[in-house]
Structure formats: structure tokens, C-alpha cells
């Protein structure tokens, strides 16, 4: 890998978040909601009604909480995926593609390996998702390592390839009979059980929570995590300490892809039970946003995922109850990201107030 590229790994330390992270994250979120409230006001809605309705919808009862967590689950995976790559200084913005590839791999494994007892079938199906996602991360990793190809572009391109390819698979070879572009249903042995009926919440959330802990452990307690963080902060010094940069980059992107792929698998196994063309409303992109809002920390990502999940599920309730267009929650998401992206700007505002 060329010197030039080596020097371009690693983030500028004044980008996104440093220092008193939590305070600024919260401020960013608050400001975003304030701006959102202004938009609501200007277009003739009561922000208080809207926000209260959203909050109640998301957390007010068991059904709400269940749906919130259901919506949050895939985002936990994709945000962790982005995080793992980011810690090594890499921008994996192809989480959506890795998610989808994991989902289709799990679907196929689930359907075609019938007759296995659940205790084998479930882990096998999840593994298929991880492997496929990991492969989808391996390609950009190798391209960067061998050809200095910037991963921002290669991961994004592969994401599109994944979208079209899975769409093809679902519309042709693996299509179930009928009008809908979807596969057959997964056999029960490959399903993740619903744990909170009548909500859609499955044991997938447990996998997600376990993964949060695992990622935290990986980054902070293992040799590999140590090396990845070293590469992310200062690849030159890392190289000097004998750390193999190429290996680190490849591992980081493969792990990242595998986590996203696992997310796709879990989403199919737990929530949808079959692969429906276009089932993902952009979980990969959400993951990116959530990782940033969460301060690039596994537990922060968990909290931010729940926030975004709440926006989605609460948003649906709010739309029905108050008539506010559902898209306000997407608008809020965008605002949150932008305000998180300019911590320096926020800091500037505060300095002027002093």
C-alpha cells in the first residue's frame, strides 16, 4: 500500500467528536429537535402534540416499546459495523449492501437446508449471513490494500451491486410463486422466536445486545482492538510498533461487513421470515448516522439506535394520530446528523455566548 494512502488512513482528530462527547451529542440532538419543531410550527402543526405523540407511541406501552426495539435492532448492527471500520480509520459506507448480502445468504441457507434441528440451523443461518457480509467487506479491503482504491467509493458501489443482485435473486432464482417479489418463507427451524407478542420483537434484539458487548470488548480489551485503534489514530506509529497495517485494514473491513451481514440475517430470521425485495428502508445509512450520533462508541450506538428506532415507530403512531407527515422523522434524523457533524460550529456558538 502506498505511503500516500497510509497517510490518509486515520481521521482528523477534530472531525466529528472529541472531548466532552456526550454533552455535545445531546446538544446536537436537542437543537435538531428544536429546528424540527420550528418546521412543524411553520407548516401548521403543534410540535408539542407531535413530539408527545411520538414519544408515547414509541415508549408509552409494551406494544410501542416492542416496535421501537424491533426497528432499532437492524440499526444496532449496521451502526456497530460502521463503528468497527471507523475505529481503524476506514469509512465503510456500504453497510446497506453488506446487510442485504447477509440477509439473502441467511434466507437461502434457511430455506434450502431444511430438516435441521433449530439448535444447529439457527447458528448456521446466522453464520451464513456473517460470511457473506464479511466477503462483501473483503472486496473493498483487498482493493484498498492492493490498489489504493478509496473504500468510500468501493463500498458504496458494492452496495448498489448488492441491492441489484439481491433484487435479481429474489425476482428470479429464489422467487416464491405469486405476484410479490419475495422468497419462500423460512422454515420454523431457522426462525428467531418472537419474544414479545403481539409486537414483532424477536430474540434478534438479544443477539444485537450481545454484539454491542462483544464489540466493546473487542475494541477495548483485545489485542486486535488495540491494533485497530492504533492504526486508526496513527498508522505510522502503529507500523513502527510492528503492527501490520494491511492485515488490520482487511480484518477491520471484513469484521465490519460480517457484523452488517449478521444484522441482515437476524432481520430476516426474526422480523420478516422471508426476503422481500426492498425490505430495507436504508438500514445501512441509518447505521452510519447512528454511529456518529452515538459518539462512535458501542453503547452510544445502542442508545442512538433506540432513538432512531423510536423515531420510526413513534413516527408511525404520530402520523396516524396527529396527521403530521411521517417523513418528519427522517427530517429529524438528517438534522441530528448535520448538527453532530458540526460540533465545532456548536462550540463556536457557545464561545460567543461566554
Amino acid at each position: 500500500m502506498s505511503e500516500e494512502v497510509k497517510n490518509n488512513i486515520g481521521r482528523e482528530t477534530d472531525s466529528v467528536v472529541t472531548g466532552d462527547k456526550v454533552v455535545f451529542q445531546v446538544i446536537a440532538i436537542v437543537i435538531a429537535f428544536v429546528v424540527g419543531a420550528l418546521v412543524l410550527l411553520v407548516t401548521g402543526y403543534s410540535p408539542i402534540d407531535a413530539y408527545v405523540s411520538m414519544a408515547l407511541g414509541a415508549f408509552g406501552d409494551i406494544f410501542g416499546i416492542g416496535q421501537t426495539l424491533t426497528q432499532a435492532t437492524p440499526i444496532i448492527f449496521t451502526s456497530l459495523a460502521f463503528l468497527v471500520a471507523y475505529k481503524a480509520g476506514l469509512f465503510n459506507i456500504g453497510g446497506e449492501g453488506q446487510f442485504l448480502m447477509g440477509a439473502i445468504a441467511a434466507t437461502v441457507t434457511g430455506i434450502y437446508l431444511e430438516g435441521l434441528p433449530g439448535i444447529i440451523h439457527i447458528p448456521l443461518t446466522m453464520l451464513a449471513g456473517m460470511i457473506m457480509g464479511g466477503l462483501w467487506g473483503l472486496v473493498p479491503a483487498l482493493l484498498k490494500s492492493r490498489f489504493d482504491a478509496h473504500e468510500v467509493i468501493t463500498t458504496m458501489m458494492l452496495s448498489y451491486v448488492a441491492q441489484y443482485f439481491t433484487s435479481y435473486l429474489v425476482n428470479y432464482p429464489f422467487k416464491a410463486p405469486g405476484w410479490v417479489s419475495q422468497t419462500e418463507r423460512l422454515p420454523v427451524s431457522a426462525e428467531l422466536a418472537r419474544i414479545l407478542p403481539p409486537t414483532q420483537l424477536s430474540s434478534g434484539i438479544i443477539v444485537a445486545l450481545a454484539l454491542v458487548g462483544l464489540v466493546w470488548f473487542l475494541l477495548n480489551k483485545t489485542v486486535l482492538g488495540f491494533e485497530l485503534r492504533a492504526i486508526g489514530f496513527n498508522p505510522t506509529a502503529a507500523e513502527n510498533s510492528g503492527i501490520k497495517i494491511d492485515r488490520g485494514i482487511i480484518l477491520s473491513l471484513v469484521l465490519s461487513g460480517a457484523i452488517a451481514g449478521l444484522g441482515g440475517a437476524v432481520e430476516i430470521m426474526g422480523t420478516h421470515k422471508r426476503f422481500i425485495d426492498g425490505f430495507s428502508p436504508g438500514y445501512g445509512w441509518d447505521g452510519l448516522a447512528v454511529a456518529l450520533v452515538g459518539g462512535l462508541d458501542p453503547f452510544g450506538s445502542l442508545l442512538a439506535s433506540i432513538l432512531f428506532g423510536a423515531l420510526r415507530s413513534g413516527g408511525m403512531i404520530m402520523a396516524r394520530a396527529t396527521g403530521v407527515p411521517l417523513d418528519i422523522n427522517i427530517l429529524l434524523q438528517g438534522l441530528v446528523i448535520l448538527f453532530v457533524a458540526a460540533p465545532a460550529a456548536i462550540r463556536g456558538v457557545f464561545r460567543r455566548k461566554d
Binding site: E4, E12, A149, H150, M156, M157, I330, Q333, A345
Partner: protein
């Protein structure tokens, strides 16, 4: 019996040109931004917002040309925000771009519902009608390909040439290229690096806005939720495939447009799965980046410029 001429014909090529138009404009816009060293992942959001703004303007004034102007200006404005976040505050370019994309989707969808109700689309508005070129449209085959198109389509080669002219024949273009590649050297030569970066990004946004305007005021004449459908990202691929050079970008945009037209045609014929065709442009872009098809060196290293 299906023959080759059933799907590769003049109609296909004409459709390809039409589908290429928004991509070419957006890609030219992205090119300017990247040429001053700013990655513009938010191109998608810029296009979408411009599409929307154009429709709103046409809706309230009844004049599609005002719509076009508003769309172009909107593109510049949104890009200005991106520029502020990334030039002045050295915010991560990727983060800012992503935020803009999501915000654009949310905002335009929300406002569409506010203005026109919950249909996922706006009312039809006054659009730009296609024009037919006399004499040319009667030439066999070629006439069918290029004879009848929107004025914005015919504008494409001129805008492309204008980009080439500005970039390679004017002092401003020289400074743009200098600033993107080696801002410190440009600074010591007395070039106002920060100002040049701002102008580059805003100009790029305006071009992308033109692409967005085409979608909602010419190709169709209404706005639908998320109507850019990832074209902003395709434009980025076209930009890279075209090696950040105006004519290259133009050509690769046409290629992507053609692929799009081809897959639609194939879909109706039911021969090859359209999705597979659609992956080709992306795989090609990856191949280019890997150096399989000629070396693609980005015009800059995207590092934020810190003034000494």
C-alpha cells in the same frame, strides 16, 4: 422471435440520452466540487431538493423556467451549507454529505405531503416541453435518436463544453485545479484558497441542481418522493469513471444512461434480468478504481485545508 434490433434501436439510444441527462449534470457538478478538494456525497440530496424546489416554483408561478432557475439556485444554496460545514468547520465531508442526503429526503417528503397531501407525489406542474429540431429529426435513424428532446438535453454538450472551458481555459479554472491538488502552493502563489473552494462547491451544486430540475420539470413534470433514486450516487460513479474530466464525465454519463435504458427495455422483453445489467456500471467503476481500466487519480486528496 426476438431479434437484436428489437431492443437496440434508435428509441433505446434516445432513451439513453434522456436518462443520462440528470446524471451528466450532477456528475459535472460533483466534478467541480472534487476538483477543489471537497467530496460531495451529498450530491443526491442536492439533486432531490432542487427537483423539489423547481416543482414548487413552477407550481406557484406556472412558469417552468422560473422553476429551473430556482432549482439551480437551490442547488447552490444547499452546497453552500455543505461547504460551510466542511471548509470552515472542517467537519467530516462524508458526515455532512450523508446528513444532507437524509435531511433532503425528509424535508422534501414532508413538504410534499404538506403542500399536496399524502400521495407521495406533487400535483402535475408546468414542465419544459420537448422540442423537435427541424430537418435533423427527419434524418433516418439519427433523427430518431437526437431529433426530439428536452432543451435541457440539448444544453448538455454546451454545458459540458463550458465546464471544460472554465476549467482549462480561464484563470479561475487554473486556480481551481491548483487549489484542489496543492492548496499550500496555491496559497503561496497568492490564490485565495478558501474562496476558491467555496465557489467550486457552490458551482458544483448549481450544476447538480440543473440535473435535479431536469428530473422533475422535463423528464416528468411532477415531484415524487425520493425521485432521484440514487442518481446522485450514480453521478459520482460517472464522475470517477470519467476521470474528473468534463468530456470524460459526459461520455460516462451517457454510458450509465444507456445502461439504464437498456435494463428498462430488457425488463419489458423479459430476456436478461434487468438487475444484472444495472450492476454493470458500478462494477465498471470499481474496476477503474482498481486500475484495471486505466489509472484513476483523484484530483485531490480530500484533506481539509488548514490555513497556516
Amino acid at each position: 422471435m426476438v431479434t437484436v434490433t428489437d431492443f437496440i434501436n434508435a428509441g433505446l439510444l434516445a432513451a439513453g440520452i434522456r436518462l443520462a441527462t440528470p446524471i451528466v449534470y450532477a456528475a459535472l457538478g460533483g466534478m467541480f466540487s472534487e476538483r477543489v478538494g471537497i467530496v460531495h456525497i451529498g450530491l443526491e440530496g442536492v439533486m432531490l431538493t432542487s427537483s423539489f424546489a423547481g416543482v414548487v416554483a413552477s407550481y406557484y408561478t406556472g412558469n417552468p423556467w422560473i422553476g429551473i432557475i430556482v432549482a439551480v439556485l437551490t442547488g447552490g444554496l444547499i452546497s453552500f451549507v455543505h461547504a460551510v460545514l466542511t471548509i470552515k468547520y472542517v467537519g467530516d465531508q462524508i458526515v455532512s454529505g450523508t446528513g444532507l442526503n437524509i435531511l433532503a429526503l425528509g424535508f422534501t417528503s414532508y413538504m410534499t405531503q404538506i403542500i399536496w397531501g399524502n400521495r407521495g407525489a406533487s400535483d402535475s406542474v408546468q414542465g419544459i416541453a420537448d422540442i423537435a429540431l427541424p430537418i435533423i429529426k427527419d434524418i433516418p435513424f439519427i433523427g430518431k435518436v437526437i431529433g426530439t428532446h428536452s432543451p435541457l438535453v440539448y444544453l448538455m454538450p454546451f454545458v459540458t463544453y463550458a465546464c471544460y472551458y472554465v476549467l482549462f481555459k480561464t484563470p479561475f479554472g487554473l486556480r481551481v485545479r491548483a487549489v484542489g491538488e496543492h492548496p499550500t502552493a496555491a496559497e503561496t502563489a497568492g490564490v485565495d484558497v478558501i474562496k476558491t473552494k467555496y465557489i467550486g462547491v457552490i458551482l458544483g451544486g448549481m450544476l447538480a441542481g440543473l440535473g435535479g430540475a431536469f428530473l422533475s420539470l422535463s423528464h416528468l413534470n411532477l415531484f415524487t418522493r425520493g425521485m432521484t433514486g440514487g442518481r446522485g450516487f450514480i453521478a459520482m460513479a460517472a464522475m470517477i469513471f470519467g476521470k474528473w474530466m468534463p468530456f470524460g464525465v459526459f461520455a460516462s454519463g451517457l454510458l450509465f444512461g444507456l445502461a439504464d435504458a437498456l435494463q428498462i427495455r430488457l425488463q419489458s422483453l423479459g430476456i436478461l434480468p434487468p438487475q444484472i445489467i444495472l450492476t454493470i456500471p458500478y462494477l465498471l467503476t470499481i474496476a477503474i478504481l482498481a486500475g484495471f481500466v486505466g489509472k484513476a487519480k483523484a484530483p485531490s486528496d480530500y484533506k481539509p485545508y488548514k490555513k497556516e
